[in-house]
């Protein structure tokens, strides 16, 4: 009988799976992975760092959702009033915390498939020095994106400067490297992610192999 490999799972895999088929574009990729976990191929290591990112992601999603539910057009001052209101903050907090509790309840109830970082684990400055060396060794990519309306998602053009596009720097960075080096410190054989930039991190400084989960894989 094969032994399940301890595997660090990136935040995007977790949240995608929990959001489900109707909400997440790459759900089936996450579903396939968790199917293999269920069959005993991998044991998922859940770090507090991943959970911290998970909560932040849920708050961003909840904020976008509550914002999109505002039906009538509002001025800047009206939106500031809404954003500062107790009702708006409570709505975002209640929804995101409820979602986070559901996730925590599931993963803490199944010690066979989900393990947690040892509370006594400490990370050294040397780990972050490795991250700096890795980041210094290469430059990422530059991409051109159309400006997009955060409420409806439509492409927009700037009425003032006439620009419709921006140049953006895209690369793995400090959080990615921290995840990878933590995975290594926690004894994980693999790190599973759905982020193509993350997957470009050189393995040299880590014992954990990055596996990019994608529809093509």
């Amino acid at each position: 009988m094969s032994v399940a490999s301890l595997s660090y799972v990136d935040t995007n895999v977790f949240v995608s799976y929990a959001l489900g088929e109707e909400r997440e574009e790459s759900f089936e990729v996450a579903e396939k992975f968790f199917g293999e976990v269920s069959q005993g191929k991998y044991v998922v290591l859940v770090s507090s760092f991943v959970l911290t990112e998970t909560l932040h992601t849920l708050r961003k999603i909840a904020t976008e959702q509550v914002f999109k539910e505002i039906e009538r057009r509002m001025s800047r001052s009206e939106l500031i009033e809404v954003a500062n209101s107790t009702e708006f903050k409570r709505e975002v907090n209640d929804r995101s915390l409820k979602a986070f509790r559901v996730i925590i309840d599931c993963i803490t109830s199944d010690p066979d498939h989900f393990k947690f970082g040892d509370l006594k684990t400490t990370y050294s400055e040397e780990m972050f020095s490795k991250a700096l060396r890795t980041l210094s060794a290469g430059l990422g990519e530059f991409r051109v994106y159309h400006f997009r309306c955060p409420k409806c998602g439509s492409d927009i053009d700037c009425a003032h400067c006439g620009f419709s596009y921006e140049i953006a720097y895209k690369a793995y960075n400090a959080p990615d490297l921290t995840h990878l080096l933590m995975a290594s410190s926690l004894g994980c054989k693999y790190l599973f992610t759905m982020d193509q930039y993350f997957a470009k991190v050189p393995r040299a400084e880590s014992q954990s192999e990055v596996i990019l989960l994608s529809r093509d894989a």
Binding site: A18, L19, E25, S26, S48, T57, I104, S109
Partner: protein, 122 residues
Amino acid sequence: MYRQSGISSGFGNLDLGKTANAVLSRSFDFLERVLGYAIETSPNHVAKAILENSLKQLVPKEMPPEVLDYLSRNTLRSIVGLSPIEINTIDKDAIRKLKGSISWLSKEKIDVTEIIREMREC
């Protein structure tokens, strides 16, 4: 400033130390019985040696991995205000329950990977 509710609400009455105490209470009950028997049947210095040797097996640094994992799980639950679970709790259906469990959070398709990528680049 808006003060959020919910997070850490469990800390007030359930912290790591209390959880650890709950986990170890059975062991200490056993230890107490061993000590009582040792005092009745052995000289004081022997009873003391038995006690010290037994305590070495029970201090936190000696806790087995499954107990440490249990403490981590309950600490997480306490952070979000969930009630503690028993050490032998195993929900074999948890992976299936997790699937789509928070779909109600949004009403439309989301690219979570892109949202997290943007977060990491800020």
